[in-house]
């Protein structure tokens, strides 16, 4: 069975009811389990790559790094950081687990911090609530996140968790805001042919700024942009 398909059927126990089988077998007898699903990201891309780059990316996609338990934990964390219940979707709609998996494989320096961070989180969950992070209740998960979501917390015991959560927050936000959902959420207007003609007037007023006449004389008259440039001998543009 394709590993990715398996993951889609992995179950989360909402209560502290033991560690879920790493095979992801969906035959749990508990009726208190929920599946975690996310949008799958493509594994082939075409955006102006050299042969060497194509090979590198193929190798990255073929590489298996995370165990299923780890990937589910990543999914749960990403979902907490940027929930799906929003008009512009959230981390799972944006395929964050796949993105995080790719970036961690792409950047060697992320591998140990993410693996170790998940293990730290599980250890802490077991200590406090008797089960791995994904197998404790949602309220318990949030209470643990509350302890590690703020870098100003001084408790030395929590520092590894704080570092890990900060990294996961960075990856989640960057992964979401670089998708179509994220650009929509942000309201980004660019990456398209247009004619820049300065800051909109209403914005200038709001910021108490204005273009000076002398400066504007140096600027392009966009109605003349397609007229071929000509100059006089004194370097003055005449067209």
């Amino acid at each position: 069975m394709d590993r990715r398909e398996t993951l889609k059927s992995l179950l989360l126990a909402p209560l502290a009811s033991g560690v879920i089988a790493s095979t992801g077998c969906a035959s749990s007898s508990s009726n208190q389990t929920t599946a975690i699903n996310w949008t799958r990201l493509p594994t082939t891309y075409s955006y102006g790559r050299t042969e060497a780059e194509k090979l590198t990316d193929q190798q990255l996609f073929a590489e298996s790094y995370f165990r299923e338990h780890e990937l589910v934990t990543i999914a749960v964390l990403c979902d907490i950081i940027l929930p799906n219940e929003h008009a512009n979707g959230g981390a799972l709609d944006a395929g964050l687990p796949d993105f995080v998996e790719f970036m961690v494989k792409d950047r060697e320096r992320y591998k140990l911090p993410v693996r170790g961070g998940i293990a730290w989180l599980d250890n802490s969950a077991v200590d406090r609530f008797g089960a791995d992070f994904i197998n404790i209740s949602e309220a318990q998960r949030l209470s643990l996140c509350d302890e590690i979501a703020y870098p100003d917390v001084q408790d030395a015991e929590l520092q590894p968790g704080i570092s890990f959560f900060s990294l996961m927050r960075d990856l989640t936000l960057t992964g979401y805001y670089t998708t179509a959902l994220g650009l929509e959420d942000l309201g980004y207007q660019g990456n398209t042919p247009n004619v820049w003609d300065g800051v909109p007037d209403a914005v200038l007023q709001k910021h108490n700024k204005a273009y000076e006449t002398e400066w504007l004389k140096k600027c392009v008259d966009q109605s003349q942009r397609d007229i071929t440039a000509e100059w006089d001998d004194d370097m003055n543009l005449t067209s």
């Binding site: 990201l41 493509p42 891309y45 075409s46 955006y47 102006g48 050299t50 590198t56 996609f61 907490i80 950081i81 940027l82 929930p83 929003h86 790719f102 970036m103 792409d106 996140c145 703020y150 100003d152 959560f165 927050r169 960075d170 936000l173 960057t174 805001y177 670089t178 998708t179 179509a180 994220g182 650009l183 959420d185 942000l186 309201g187 980004y188 207007q189 660019g190 990456n191 398209t192 042919p193 247009n194 820049w196 800051v199 909109p200 914005v203 709001k206 910021h207 700024k209 273009y211 400066w215 504007l216 140096k218 392009v220 397609d226 007229i227 071929t228 440039a229 100059w231 370097m235 543009l237």
Partner: protein, 568 residues
């Protein structure tokens, strides 16, 4: 391949090589253009990175070893190339970027196009350091003038003596954060003027399009509205029968005859791994300052035992790069912005030229300021430390959940940054030379770098840091990060890092202290020329590309004239 005799063999297709190719082919000469990388067409979909959304890359534009400036950047090459190492002497940490593609590094530069001024050619007269150029501004001005019209550059005539006027296209209007900077700079009595960049804000001919403001020159332009050597200078020569382009070809050496004159080059075809000879009446090296020096040093013969052009032992010496330092600030007045498309042209619309000439400073040579900020397209790294500015607002940093969306929008476009680019003082002891033991994958000896900044550059960086702090605060900014002090050389970039390396084959009238004459012609072999930044005696605080092209054009005119007179 049947051996063919070319009028000119040009090594390298970047700014210098592209210009020489364009001018010499235009004059009717038969040209071979040799490029170590592949052909490149930014409009071809299989090579295009422009106008792609971040999700079209699995890493959303993050940098890779193969594309250190991000994986949508168009420059194929980088700090490290497989099979082509370079080494360091002692504790040198020189960074060497090599482009491997048609157009070379003109595919990724910022398009900042600054003429050197009259003072920049005569720095020794002013501060007693280094050497004067054998030419002055009046010698190069006609070429800058022609270059402005042929290639196109926007800017403004300001009447500044050492930042000369030009035949400029009109400038784009400043963005909002740039208006904040303008106001701040004026409070500090620091000048700020429109940027000068080779991007077509207005039509200059029927072959190239007019900028459509995607802000992505670094991804190369499908309508050739930005300057890159490939699209603007080389393409127009490829269909006239005057130019034979050899890609994926790595030049090993310039071959010479019994008189010590060049007969052509030998090169490795990277696809079949075989070595080939090419014959030419003249050879123009434009492989980049360090690569051209390497070729010369590797061109050993009984007539040139120390390498071609190296009787003076000056090839590789006086290597110098621009200095650099940077700082950023959070502008609270730019929180909660109305969102509109302000991609604009690539990078800054305004800049500050060096403003303290003739001031009593404790370091020589100047620098200029490049301004950054705005509501750019998100790519990898966007959203990192999402609400770190909360620390300045008395609010808590961190957290999770949908309020992070509010933080993202609240702080989007509220950052203002400054990058300084300054002039270093060339040193005889700063050099690249052949490593005695290391070769590349084709068995060609590689370069070893030996380079240390002096106190001049460190003192300049200290001044940069003070100036940036003052300007960012005057612009309404709260400074980010900590100010680097003496223990970090005031944030001075590593040598080579700014990718403005010049000086390795410097020009001069005295063959004992220079490698070429004022036309880039080797003192030791009259049919070999250098048309890249190797000939620079000093690099000014100006980005070198515009001067590389002006000098290459001047060299090309000289070659044409000498051939007419049958001196070549």
């Amino acid at each position: 391949m049947a051996e063919q005799q070319f009028d000119v063999i040009i090594v390298g297709s970047g700014a210098g090589g592209g210009m020489a190719t364009n001018r010499l082919a235009n004059a009717g000469l038969k040209v071979a253009l040799i490029e170590a990388g592949d052909f490149y067409d930014p409009a071809a979909d299989e090579q295009r990175t422009q106008l792609r959304y971040p999700w079209e890359s699995p890493r959303r534009g993050a940098s890779t070893r193969l594309r250190p400036f991000g994986d949508f950047n168009s420059c194929i090459g980088g700090w490290e190339l497989d099979g082509e190492p370079y080494t360091q002497k002692g504790d040198t940490e020189f960074m060497w970027w090599r482009g491997r593609m048609l157009g070379g590094r003109t595919n990724h530069w910022g398009r900042i196009s600054l003429r050197f001024g009259p003072l920049d050619f005569k720095r020794r007269d002013i501060d007693g350091l280094g050497d004067n150029w054998p030419i002055g501004y009046e010698d190069i001005k006609p070429y800058y003038d022609k270059l402005d019209k042929l290639v196109g550059v926007f800017g403004s005539n300001e009447g500044l003596y050492n930042d000369p006027d030009g035949f400029f296209l009109p400038a784009p209007k400043p963005r909002l954060h740039e208006l904040y900077y303008i106001e701040g700079a004026r409070k500090s009595n620091v000048p700020v003027i429109p940027a000068r960049k080779s991007i077509l804000t207005k039509r200059i001919n029927d072959q190239r399009g007019v900028c459509y403001y995607c802000g992505q020159c670094s991804r190369a332009c499908d309508i050739h509205a930005d300057f890159s050597s490939g699209t603007v200078l080389v393409y127009p020569t490829l269909n006239g029968g005057q130019v034979d382009l050899f890609t994926n070809s790595m030049v090993r050496e310039v071959t010479t005859d019994n008189e010590g004159r060049a007969t052509g080059v030998s090169y490795v075809n990277k696809q079949d791994g075989q070595e080939y000879q090419m014959r030419g009446r003249t050879v123009v090296l434009a492989a980049s300052a360090c690569s051209s020096a390497r070729i010369l040093l590797n061109s050993k013969s009984p007539q040139h035992e120390n390498g071609l052009g190296n009787n003076s032992d000056h090839v590789g010496r006086y290597l110098h790069d621009s200095t650099g330092a940077s700082r950023a600030a959070f502008i609270p007045d730019l929180m909660e912005r109305d969102i509109y498309n302000e991609d604009g042209v690539s990078g800054m619309h305004v800049y500050t030229p060096w403003w303290l000439e003739n001031s009593n400073l404790d370091f020589p040579r100047g620098y200029h300021l490049e301004i950054g900020g705005g509501m750019g397209m998100p790519s990898y790294g966007f959203g990192f430390a999402v609400n770190q500015y909360n620390q300045f607002l008395g609010e808590r940093v961190g957290g999770y959940g949908n309020q992070l969306r509010d933080d993202i929008r609240r702080f989007y476009g509220s950052r203002l940054s400054i990058a300084c680019r300054g002039e270093s003082v060339p040193q005889y002891s700063n050099r690249c030379e052949l490593d005695p033991t290391v070769v590349d994958e084709w068995g060609i000896p590689v370069l070893r770098f030996d380079y240390q900044w002096t106190q001049y550059e460190i003192d300049q960086a200290r001044h940069m840091q003070d100036a940036m702090e003052e300007l960012l605060e005057a612009s309404g900014g709260i400074l980010l990060g900590s100010k680097p002090g003496a223990e970090r050389d005031y944030g001075l970039t590593q040598p080579g890092e700014i990718i403005h390396e010049v000086g390795t084959t410097r020009m001069g009238d005295n063959p004992l202290t220079s490698v070429t004459n004022q036309y880039g012609q080797l003192h030791d072999a009259d049919n070999v020329f250098v048309a890249d930044a190797g000939t620079f005696v000093s690099q000014a605080d100006k980005n070198p590309t515009w001067t590389i092209m002006a000098l290459s054009w001047r060299t090309s005119d000289y070659i044409i004239e000498q051939m007419k007179q049958r001196s070549l």
